[in-house]
């Protein structure tokens, strides 16, 4: 194991308290409380907190208007910048521990019987994800429309929690886009094995985060495998919610999909998986 690997106490904290952290994050960032979002007078991730729209260029947009999008969604810009920087250094903790959009999907999927769960784990997620992201970025640029805001997870999940209290949010789920979004959240979230198929396939913020994770892998702390200790048993790949572990020839972790949920580290009986910087 790497000498730079974290102590077992640190590992156990992020692993042991992941579920409570996910719940607290959802409570603080989602309606009806949304305490953090309400600091700026907002109730959801639209407008100032929008983390998805500001980086899409629309046909006919001037540079000034494009930059104004950054100003208009300044909290969303700050959030995405913070996510990318922390991911570069420490891995995708936003996705694994803090994301309020993913939290209800993963926690909800734990309540679904295994027999009913859909297993997408053999789908090559990066290929799918960046195919979708390409359309997400190119379609508005060439003028055929935008996947924002109608197909937005950062709009749908908060609206889902606000629907019992707000007529507007309830009506959203009676519209075509709302039904489609709800179907995607159920199909790729709650009924997916691990609850992370939506994150892994369709989330644009997750796609950018994964790039930061991949490019920072040589420098920052990541989930890694000690090949000398690994027996290629495959237990880790069975529990990985983002299908990032491949055991075809030897066990490897795809940093384009991995997030430090630490489940692989927990199940490894040979202490071959650790969180830390690359071994020298």
């Amino acid at each position: 194991m790497s000498t730079d690997a974290d102590s077992s106490a640190t590992v156990s904290f992020w692993s042991r308290y992941r579920t409570p952290i996910l719940i607290v994050s959802a409570i603080l960032l989602l309606p009806p409380l949304a305490a953090i979002v309400q600091l700026t007078g907002d109730t959801n991730f639209c407008g100032r907190w929008c983390p998805r729209m500001f980086f899409t260029w629309r046909e006919g947009t001037t540079m000034a208007a494009f930059l104004m999008g950054f100003v208009r969604a300044y909290m969303g810009v700050a959030l995405v910048a913070a996510i990318l920087v922390t991911t570069f250094a420490f891995g995708r903790y936003w996705c694994s521990h803090l994301c309020p959009v993913a939290s209800p999907l993963e926690l909800g999927s734990r309540l679904i019987p295994k027999k009913l769960k859909l297993n997408f784990s053999s789908t090559p997620a990066p290929s799918f994800r960046y195919g979708y992201l390409a359309v997400y970025l190119i379609a508005p640029a060439i003028g055929i429309g935008s996947l924002c805001c109608n197909y937005c997870n950062f709009a749908a999940v908060p609206r889902l929690f606000a629907a019992p209290f707000s007529e507007g949010d309830l009506i959203y789920f009676l519209r075509f886009q709302g039904v489609i979004n709800l179907g995607l959240l159920l199909f790729l979230g709650i009924f997916a094995k691990g609850g992370r198929a939506y994150c892994n396939l369709l989330c644009p913020v997750g796609a950018l985060d994964a790039l930061s994770n991949r490019f920072g892998a040589k420098f920052g702390r990541r989930i890694r495998i000690d090949q000398d200790a690994c027996t290629n048993c495959g237990d880790c790949s069975q529990v990985c919610p983002t299908w990032a572990i491949d055991v075809t020839d030897r066990t490897t972790i795809n940093q384009l999909s991995c997030m430090p949920c630490r489940r692989c580290e927990d199940v490894c009986q040979h202490e071959a998986i650790y969180y830390g910087k690359p071994a020298a």
């Binding site: 053999s122 789908t123 090559p124 290929s127 799918f128 195919g131 390409a134 359309v135 379609a139 495959g234």
Partner: protein, 80 residues
Amino acid sequence: MANRRLRIVAGVAGVTAGLAPYLPTVVCPGVACTSCFACVGAGGAAASALIVGLVSRKLGRRNPADQRPPTTIGEGANLN
């Protein structure tokens, strides 16, 4: 790593998923609705393509561990 064919299929499925919401408006032949259901057909075709892409694991098993009998964590079941 998944095999090349599987990655290409997944990439096409991702593009299809992105384009699917646009297809009904692209195929719509008129300003007023004549109930031709072209939009429904396009949406259905896109959804079918997406589902085929998503279940493309049938084309190839990525992970040899999937083909092994399930291990019981904690009992030291190492099939190697």
